[in-house]
C-alpha cells in the first residue's frame, strides 16, 4: 500500500459526515493524530481553533496573511505560548492548561519561512546540530543519506552564506528531518524563493509526501502549493477555521470560492493508464472518467495528481462536435453558485448522468452562459477541459 493510499485512508477516517463543518467542532482527543485546541490573542487579533488532524500526510493550513496560520503553527511548536490550549500528538500531550512543554522538548521539525541556517556552522554542522541533540549522537552515515536525498551532499563543507536560497531551504528541511521528528511543521518554506527556486524544491517536498510516515503541517497562502501538496486542507480566516477536510473536497467547495478566487479549481488523484508516445500524451484515469494530459514520460500505473482550474472548464448541454479541445467528459451538475458579479461557479461530478460518485470538477462560466444553457442542479452536461496540469 503506497503512502498516498494510506493517507487517503486517514482522510476518510477523519472526514466528517457530509461536507466539513463551517465552524470547528469539539471532539474527543484521539489517540492518533494531532489534536489542536488553541485560543490565543494579542491586541487586534484573536486565534480560536479546535481541530483534530490526521496522523499522517500533509495538512495545509491555508489562508491569507493575518489569518493566524503562522501563529497557530508557532503555538504547535511552543514558540508562542497560547493562553488556552490543548496540543497533543498521538496521545502525547505537549500543552494543556498550565502544563507547557518548551519547544526544545517537543519532537518537532520546523522549517522557517526564510533561510534559518546557523551562519557560524557549515552545512554538515547545521545538519548535525539537531541530530546530536535529538538522538544523542551524530551518525555520519545518516547525514550522508539525508544529504543525498536532498541533493546537498556536495555542499557539506560549505558555509550557508555561499548557498543559494533553494539550497539553504533544502538543508533546513534535511536538518529538521534528521532530528527524527514526530511532526514536521513548515511555515511557507517556499515564499522567500523566486519561481525557479520553488520549482527546484517542490519535487523534494512531493517526495517527502510519498515517503514520510509522520504528519506534516504546511502553512501557505498559495493555492497552487496547497493543490500540489495537500492531503488535507484547513482553511483559515481571521483566526478561525473556515473549513477543514480532504484537499479535493475543500478546494471544490463553492461556498469558499472567495478564498480561492481566480485559482478555484479541482485536484484529481489519478493513475496513468495509457501512453501515446507518438503525440506525447498520457491518459489518466480517476473515479468517473479519464483525461488526456500532455507528456508521455510517466510509467503506466504510476500515480499522479492533476489540477484543473475552474476557468479552463467549459460546459455544453449536447455532446460537442469535433474540436481542438481533446478532453470532453460527461458530468452531472451538483451545485451552482453565483459569484455576485458576472460569473458563476458550477460544481460537477464526472461520470454518466445520475452518478454523483465521480471525481469533482469546477467550472467557471458567465452568468449569461448559465442562463443560455438553462443549467440546473442534477442536469447532465459535457465538460470540456481546456487544460490539465500534472502536479506530481
Amino acid at each position: 500500500m503506497s503512502g498516498r493510499d494510506q493517507r487517503r485512508g486517514a482522510d476518510e477516517a477523519q472526514r466528517n459526515p457530509g461536507v466539513a463543518e463551517v465552524l470547528p467542532e469539539s471532539g474527543v482527543s484521539p489517540a492518533s493524530g494531532l489534536r489542536l485546541r488553541v485560543q490565543h490573542g494579542f491586541p487586534g487579533f484573536r486565534l480560536d481553533v479546535d481541530l483534530s488532524l490526521p496522523g499522517k500526510g500533509i495538512t495545509v493550513l491555508f489562508g491569507h496573511s493575518g489569518s493566524g496560520k503562522t501563529t497557530l503553527l508557532r503555538c504547535v511548536a511552543g514558540l508562542e505560548r497560547a493562553r488556552e490550549s490543548h496540543i497533543a500528538l498521538n496521545g502525547e500531550c505537549w500543552q494543556k492548561g498550565r502544563d507547557f512543554a518548551p519547544t526544545w522538548r517537543r519532537a518537532i521539525g520546523y522549517v522557517f519561512q526564510e533561510a534559518s541556517l546557523f551562519p557560524h556552522l557549515d552545512v554538515r554542522g547545521n545538519l548535525a546540530f539537531g541530530m546530536k541533540r535529538a538522538t544523542g549522537r551524530v551518525n555520519e552515515d545518516e547525514i550522508r543519506v539525508m544529504a543525498d536525498r536532498f541533493g546537498i551532499a556536495h555542499l557539506l563543507a560549505r558555509k550557508p552564506e555561499g548557498l543559494s536560497g533553494g539550497e539553504r531551504q533544502r538543508v533546513a528541511i534535511a536538518r529538521a528531518l534528521l532530528t527524527r521528528p514526530q511532526l514536521l511543521l513548515m511555515d511557507e518554506p517556499l515564499s522567500a524563493l523566486d519561481n525557479a527556486r520553488k520549482q527546484e524544491i517542490l519535487p523534494y517536498l512531493e517526495r517527502l509526501h510519498d515517503e514520510l510516515e509522520i504528519p506534516v503541517l504546511y502553512v501557505t497562502h498559495q493555492v497552487e502549493e496547497a493543490a500540489r501538496l495537500a492531503d488535507h486542507i484547513v482553511l483559515m480566516e481571521q483566526g478561525r477555521v473556515l473549513a477543514t477536510g480532504p484537499a479535493a473536497e475543500v478546494l471544490t467547495r463553492l461556498d469558499l470560492q472567495g478564498s480561492f478566487s481566480d485559482e478555484m479549481g479541482s485536484v484529481l488523484d489519478a493513475r496513468v493508464v495509457e501512453r501515446d508516445e507518438h503525440y506525447s500524451l498520457s491518459r489518466i484515469a480517476f473515479a468517473g472518467g479519464s483525461l488526456l494530459v500532455g507528456g508521455a514520460t510517466r510509467a503506466i500505473g504510476s500515480k499522479v495528481r492533476a489540477r484543473v482550474l475552474a476557468r479552463d472548464v467549459s460546459l455544453a448541454t449536447v455532446q460537442p462536435g469535433p474540436s481542438s479541445i481533446l478532453n470532453a467528459v460527461p458530468a452531472t451538475v451538483l451545485e451552482i453558485r453565483d459569484d455576485g458579479v458576472d460569473k458563476v461557479n458550477v460544481r460537477l461530478a464526472i461520470g454518466e448522468a445520475g452518478s454523483a460518485e465521480g471525481a469533482m470538477l469546477v467550472s467557471r462560466i458567465t452568468r449569461r452562459s448559465r442562463d443560455l444553457l438553462a443549467l440546473e442542479v442534477g442536469q447532465a452536461v459535457h465538460a470540456q477541459v481546456k487544460s490539465v496540469a500534472l502536479l506530481t
Binding site: 526544545w104 534559518s116 546540530f129 539537531g130 536538518r175 529538521a176 532530528t179
Partner: protein
Amino acid sequence: MLVEQDWSAIWLTLKLASTVTVLLLLLGTPLAWWLANTHSRLRGTVSALVSMPLVLPPTVLGFYLLLLMGPNGPLGKLTQWLGLGLLPFTFWGLVVASTFYSLPFVVQPIQNAIEAIGVRPREVAATLRASPWDTFWSVVVPLARPGFLTAAILGFAHTVGEFGVVLMIGGNIPGITRVVSVQIYDHVEALEYAQAHWLSGGMVLFSFIVLLALYTLNPDTRRARS
C-alpha cells in the same frame, strides 16, 4: 628609564584590569542578555544606571562608592560583617569601583550583539532540541563573538586608563592601589618629567595598539555594534 615603583605600578594596573575584565564579562553578560530581551518597564531605568559612568565625573562616582563601601555604608557594613574588612584603599576596593566604572563599555557591545542576532536563531535552536543554556553557548556566544571581543578589549582598556575613581577609592598606596595613571601624576608632581614620559608614552602606545587591534582584527565590530 623605568624605576622599580613604575614596574610595580604597571604590574598592578595589568592585574587590576584583568581581574575587572573577567568580572565584567561575568556580570555584564547576564545583564546585557536581560536588557536585550526584556519587556520589563525597568529596562529604561537599568539602561540609564548602567550608562551613568559614561557621563558622570569619575570623582562623583568615586565619592558615592567611597561612602557606600565606607564603615557606615551598606556595602561597608556587609564586608565587615563577612569579615572582609573595609574595601576603600585596598586592591579589591579598586576592583569593585572599576567594575562599576567600566560596566557600560562591556554591557553595551554585548547587548548590541545579542540584539543584532535577534530571536530567530534561538528559536531555530529550540526547534532543534537545544535547551536555552545549550543555545546560549552553541549559538549566541559564537554569533556574538565580535561583541564579546569588543566588550573585553574596551573593558580592559578603560580600566587601564582610569584615574579619578582610583584616586577617590584607592588613594595612592604603592603596590596596592598605585596604578600607572596615578604613578604618572606623582612623577609630574615631583617634576620627574623623564619618568612621566616613559610611562605616558607607554600608555599612548598601549592604547593605540589596543584600538588598532580592535578595529583590524575584528572587522565585524561595526556590524555587531550597530
